[in-house]
């Protein structure tokens, strides 16, 4: 009968206390595993989502807001940029690719954000080395009233190919439903990014939705102000007359199939432009220079999304993560203390057992090892149970989280930190078991047996 067997017997003798003690460790470890796995997912989501482009160009304002709105589709856009700004930026010889984004509305069902963009967006990598995949007969927004939806949207709204849907102007609270309907022509494969919870519509169609184009006169004046130009009042009057003669604004009830009217560029705006720079070796340098030029130009800002995400990770998400890890670590330490209390309290009852073992020839180090083994077995048992429960929890929660947030969680996700979890538990068990083990070590055999 070895030390571990003797320790195990003792644990079994105090079944309830042992079980409760191990469960408290298990609970701490379960939480720790959940935090680690979900942290890994958030980490990946934040750090890999903006990988297909170098810069986000948007109106002056909060850089973080621009990134959150453009990449994560959270919050309202800062303001808009004239469409002409996009067309001019596209011509810049240093720019490889410029993708316009018009974000604003949400779907009537489910309240998913609508992004008006061009098909080339789907050629960008959504995480390093990964391109968007679409269902077999799906297409990336070929027609004006076409839409491509994210996997979570399809799942939650139970939308299929060919289904049509309406947009709510602005946010879901506004309640104003646009008359125009978009048709689903593609469903994206899950990406584990905010794209899963996004509805992409053809930018041309987005502009043709009633109310999306600015009134011509206002649009021209705004554009001129943006570029610092003077408005030609005569030309403006002529254009206004022409526009009034061909008023397209009463769209209510009519079918848009085959009804495609282009909106003048002056009336279009974009909320952001995703920019991919040319070159390999000097790309970083070109990007910084480009960014600084825009800053000096005082019209727009170019934001490096990685920098903003990194700031967000370090200052907000990182702190929350650290806080959660500290909290779960504290829970594990408290569990360790409960192991100490449980074993230490049992020592007065067990002094006689220890004295008997010593009388039978067990050395002081042997009884020390038996008590320490008890602590380690309880901690490890609780730890292993916690790992199983933690992964079980992740396994059960993964589809629920995916349905609610679009976050793809691998149910079998494993964090490398888990590898050190069990050794850490052994150290913790050794620490909390040390004092009871010393009590066993110092047991006075003769006086204990004579009591």
């Amino acid at each position: 009968m070895n030390t571990l067997t003797i320790a195990w017997k003792s644990i079994r003798q105090r079944r309830l206390a042992s079980l409760l003690t191990a469960l408290s460790v298990a609970l701490g470890v379960t939480l720790m595993i959940s935090v680690l796995v979900i942290n890994g997912v958030i980490d990946r989501m934040f750090n890999q989502t903006a990988s297909g482009y170098d810069l986000i160009v948007g109106p002056k304002g909060s850089a973080l807001q621009l990134v959150l709105n453009t990449v994560f589709r959270v919050g309202a856009p800062i303001e808009n940029l004239p469409y002409r700004y996009y067309t001019e930026l596209k011509k810049d010889p240093r720019v490889e690719e410029a993708i316009p984004f018009a974000i604003g509305d949400v779907t009537q069902t489910g309240g998913f954000p609508i992004v008006g963009t061009i098909p080339r967006y789907f050629a960008l990598e959504y995480v390093p080395g990964r391109h968007f995949r679409i269902n077999a007969d799906g297409k990336f927004l070929p027609g004006t009233w076409d839409s491509v939806i994210g996997s979570a949207v399809a799942k939650q709204n139970n939308w299929k190919m060919g289904d049509e849907f309406s947009l709510i102007h602005g946010s879901a609270e506004s309640g104003h439903v646009h008359d125009e309907k978009f048709k689903i022509v593609g469903i994206l494969a899950p990406t584990g990014t905010p794209n899963d919870r996004t509805v992409f519509v053809n930018l041309r169609g987005f502009y043709q939705v009633s109310g999306h184009e600015k009134p011509l006169e206002e649009a021209i004046r705004r554009e001129a102000a943006f570029f610092g130009e003077t408005v030609d009042e005569e030309k403006l009057k002529t254009l206004a007359k022409e526009n009034a003669a061909h008023d397209h604004h009463d769209h209510a009830g009519h079918d848009h199939a085959g009804h495609d009217h282009d909106v003048p560029d002056a009336q279009k705006e974009v909320t952001a432009i995703l920019v991919q720079m040319k070159g390999d070796r000097l790309r970083g340098f070109t990007t910084i220079k480009f960014q600084s030029e825009l800053k000096e130009g005082n019209q727009a800002q170019a934001v490096n999304p990685i920098q903003q995400i990194s700031w967000l990770m370090t200052n907000i998400v990182g702190n929350i993560r650290t806080m959660l890890i500290v909290l779960t670590s504290l829970i594990i330490i408290v569990s360790g203390v409960s192991i100490f209390v449980s074993i230490y309290n049992s020592m007065s009852d067990r002094k006689r057992e220890i004295a008997i073992m010593r009388a039978l020839g067990a050395g002081r180090t042997t009884v020390f090892a038996i008590i320490l083994s008890e602590s380690v077995l309880l901690c490890l048992g609780g730890g292993i149970l916690g790992i199983i429960l933690g992964h079980g929890l992740v396994f059960i929660a993964a589809p629920i989280i995916e349905a609610r947030s679009g976050l793809l969680i691998n149910p079998f996700a494993f964090s490398s930190v888990e590898l050190i979890l069990l050794p850490v538990l052994v150290v913790l068990a050794s620490l909390v078991g040390f004092i009871p083990a010393m009590t066993a070590y110092r047991t006075d055999v003769a006086s204990t047996l004579s009591d």
Partner: protein, 224 residues
């Protein structure tokens, strides 16, 4: 000889700092295969003597030789191992571990020696004490007589050279007293084990050829 005490002295320090002598034995001997009863009044130092012989308590001075090995000068860890392998101990209160079955209690007795615990031998020993049908019962499921028989089997587990029995029949009924005494005496005789049995009982003492009174050879007359 199996046990020889020479000039063994043992005293305890009292809380007020004074020293209380317990044992002062010039010479005491138990020969090989001899079965000796030691009687003495309560507090006369019988248990201390057994503790000194078994090495649980170190003597202040003198020599304790068991089967030719002097143990008083041994390091504690060596003495513990020697006790596990060479000395069997039967206690008045049986001292079985409640979490362990009868078989496991006997195996536990084997666990602290250098030999690997032998399950078959443990079963044989329990059969020897008439408990082959109680192998997997725990102490609380057994009568006091049965518990003491398990304790006897455990004491014999490592084929000791010397068996120390501290009032082994004090807590059992008359019928079991006889059984346990016979078991101890027969087992020691068959396995060539010397036995030193401490008792209050004249009934028990008169069954032995050699009966010693502690006060006859312990020069400490102070009654504790």
């Amino acid at each position: 000889m199996s046990l020889l005490l020479e000039n063994v002295k043992k005293s305890y320090r009292e809380p007020n700092g004074s020293t209380l002598p317990i044992l002062d034995i010039e010479r005491f001997e138990v020969k090989e295969r001899e079965q000796v009863v030691l009687i003495g009044e309560s507090g006369s130092g019988k248990s201390t003597l057994l503790n000194v012989i078994s090495g649980i308590t170190a003597a202040d001075s003198g020599k304790v030789t068991i089967a030719g090995t002097e143990i008083a000068s041994m390091a504690e860890v060596v003495r513990d191992r020697f006790r596990a392998e060479r000395i069997g101990f039967v206690f008045q209160t049986f001292n079985l571990l409640p979490a362990f079955s009868a078989l496991e209690n006997v195996l536990l007795g084997m666990s602290f020696s250098r030999k690997k615990p032998n399950r078959d031998r443990a079963k044989e020993l329990l059969a020897l004490v008439g408990l082959e049908h109680r192998l997997h019962h725990h102490p609380k499921q057994m009568s006091v007589g049965e518990q003491q028989r398990v304790a006897v089997a455990r004491a014999l587990a490592n084929q000791p050279k010397l068996l120390l029995a501290d009032e082994p029949t004090a807590n059992v009924d008359l019928a079991n007293q006889e059984t346990i005494l016979h078991l101890l005496r027969d087992a020691c005789a068959q396995n060539q084990i010397s036995m030193l049995l401490v008792t209050h009982s004249q009934e028990v003492a008169k069954q032995f050829d050699r009966v010693e009174t502690l006060s006859d050879f312990n020069k400490v007359h102070a009654k504790v």
